[in-house]
């Protein structure tokens, strides 16, 4: 379980993190969304015991990051957004070094390394030098490294950044597998729409403040404000448009003539939407299909971080 209590980080007069509160239960996969500089990496650095908060505290399975950092390090696997590797180490030596750094006995490390390499699909690269691996392979190796001491919590800062589509898919598959293993995963990513299906909860951070938190659907509903509805007609496109323009809850009407489709924003409730459709049927308008366009998380992210630096 992760509990973040009133976490604040200030650099002089600049507030990087502003009274962040968050509680995540065990096994949750939490996606962290925010523009560059919003406070995601600061939060992750604090949780990874690399940075002390100005005020507040965070607890990983009941251990304080301030008072018991060594205990916290045993429980977390951290993957930073930018990381380097040791040029002259081979893949198995790289993992062996980190295994030893977590105090894992040598005999145990020898058994663990092949298992981890299999998990991240790097078995064939076991005896190759780390610096000869591709970017995607290095990312997977770093993930294996973060797992070497079997942590309960994984903190992954932009694990898919800079990867080509194939490498992203591979990374996503590994993360899905880790989810089935019951790990609590905190992940930040600019490709969150791709990861949305595996995230149980999403948090949106802007200017150091958590402005939304909940499951993916709830966040979308909370942040979207208005729906984008598409209706299809068999004829009378002009009449239907005129009918819609009379409704004060409707805005941004777009007509797609070649598809006999009208798309518009609707900010009414579900009940008001039912009433609108009834009225349209009573007016004998030839509507044969109504659908709600789904905004993906990227749209939501762009909408709520409007004004901030684009990622």
């Amino acid at each position: 379980m992760i509990e973040i209590r009133d976490l604040t980080k200030k650099y002089g007069s600049f507030t990087a993190l502003d009274h962040l509160n968050l509680t995540l239960t065990e096994g949750t996969v939490f996606g962290f969304v925010g523009a560059n500089g919003a406070g995601k990496s600061t939060t992750f650095s604090i949780l990874a015991t690399l940075l002390s908060p100005t005020t507040g505290d965070a607890f990983i399975n009941g251990k304080s990051i301030i008072k018991e950092p060594t205990e916290v390090r045993k429980q977390i696997g951290y993957m930073p957004d930018f990381f380097g590797v040791y040029d002259q180490l081979k893949v198995d030596e790289y993992l062996d070094f980190y295994g030893a750094s977590y105090g894992i006995p040598s005999a145990e490390r020898k058994l663990l390394i092949p298992q981890l390499l299999e998990l991240v699909n790097l078995t064939t690269k076991r005896y190759e030098y780390v610096d000869l691996l591709s970017r995607g392979m290095k990312q997977r190796l770093c993930l294996a490294r973060a797992l070497i001491h079997d942590p309960n919590v994984l903190i992954l800062d932009e694990p898919a950044s800079g990867l080509d589509p194939r490498a992203r898919v591979e990374m996503r598959d590994i993360l899905r597998h880790l989810k089935t293993m019951g790990k609590t995963i905190l992940i930040s990513s600019h490709i969150l729409p791709e990861l949305a299906e595996m995230c149980d909860e999403i948090g949106v951070i802007d200017n150091g403040k958590l402005i939304a938190h909940g499951n993916v659907a709830a966040i979308q509903a909370q942040l979207q404000g208005e729906k984008r509805i598409a209706i299809k007609v068999t004829e009378k496109l002009v009449e239907v448009r005129a009918f819609l323009e009379e409704d004060p809850l409707i805005s941004a009407i777009d007509v797609v003539e070649n598809r006999l489709e009208i798309v518009f924003n609707y900010r009414g409730t579900d009940a008001e939407q039912v009433a609108l459709l009834k009225k349209a049927v009573m007016a004998d308008l030839p509507i044969y299909a109504v659908s709600e366009e789904e905004k993906d998380l990227e749209d939501v992210f762009m909408a709520i971080t409007k004004g901030a630096d684009s990622p």
Binding site: S45, A48, T49, L50, L51, S52, I66, K67, P69, T70, R73, K74, I76, Y78, P80, F82, F83, G84, V85, Y86, D87, Q88, L89, E93, F97, Y98, A100, S101, Y102, G103, P105, S106, C142, R145, H149
Partner: protein, 279 residues
């Protein structure tokens, strides 16, 4: 038992160091310089005839100069091996990951220092066959060689600790290296200048009693200690000039031990500088 004393950073650093061409070329350069010096010395002494004889007192001079050349090489090489200990990890972005492992700051710093010192010890050992030429001609006691090597070890540990400290508190390796070379210049050069200055001042003012300051400046100077180890008469001379009879090596050992403790304490405390609980 082995697992308990196993230092992952030390082992990793040794692996990386011995796999790098830089280490191989550095060792080669070091031995080449010693070889050139010894061969040159022998040729000059025998007047390029390949014959003649080699007196024990000449052998002693060779030992003395060889020891000073070796000290200069060690002082020159140590910063390049230690000043990048932490800053190079920072520069290649491997430090955050290392700091999130359960290794303590002390373990990391000690591992870094010992791996560098181990390489320097290897250099000194690799030079021993060349040193043994001195014994071939006599004139030098084995105890002198042992004391010189112990002196190297203490000096390397102290300079290495200073290098690791600067590497931890500065962000760039180049800055750490300049600062470490600066410390060597201070210990090897400026202290000598202060020594002569205080001696002159003591003489001019015709002060009565011991000149502790001049003794101190000489006692922390590696060159001065080296000279007293090579030639005990030098130590007696210093006692005469300063009036302090405490052996120079005692003060040197105390001061350099303090330097080691101070530098390593700073390095350990500053390694996780962004954390309140930084051990």
């Amino acid at each position: 038992m082995m697992e308990r004393v196993y230092n992952p950073v030390f082992v990793k650093e040794l692996k990386l160091r011995f796999r790098s061409f830089k280490s191989f070329s550095g060792l080669m350069f070091y031995l080449a310089v010693l070889c050139v010096f010894i061969v040159g010395f022998l040729l000059v002494t025998t007047e390029f005839t390949g014959r003649g004889f080699f007196k024990p007192d000449i052998s002693f001079i060779m030992f003395a100069v060889l020891s000073i050349v070796q000290m200069a090489l060690v002082l020159f090489i140590t910063p390049s091996l230690t000043a990048g200990a932490i800053s190079s990890e920072r520069e290649r972005q491997t430090l955050p990951i290392l700091l999130t492992t359960t290794q303590s700051s002390t373990q990391i710093i000690i591992g870094k220092l010992l791996s560098s010192v181990a390489f320097l010890v290897l250099m000194l050992i690799a030079g021993l066959p060349l040193y043994s030429l001195v014994f071939l001609f006599g004139g030098v006691a084995p105890s002198q060689v042992v004391s010189i090597f112990l002196f190297y070890l203490v000096t390397v540990l102290a300079i290495g600790s200073i290098g690791v400290m600067f590497s931890t508190i500065t962000k760039r390796t180049i800055v750490a290296m300049i600062a470490t070379y600066g410390s060597i210049i201070f210990l090897g050069g400026i202290t000598a200048f202060f020594f002569f200055l205080t001696i002159a001042f003591h003489g001019m003012t015709a002060a009565v009693g011991n000149s502790w300051m001049s003794y101190f400046w000489a006692a922390i100077n590696p060159g001065a200690l080296m000279l007293t180890l090579i030639s005990p008469e030098m130590g007696e001379g210093l006692t005469e000039v300063s009036g302090v009879s405490l052996p120079v090596w005692v003060t040197y050992l105390i001061v350099y031990s303090l330097i080691i403790v101070f530098s390593l304490t700073i390095a350990i405390r500053k390694l996780r500088a962004n954390m309140k609980n930084n051990r």
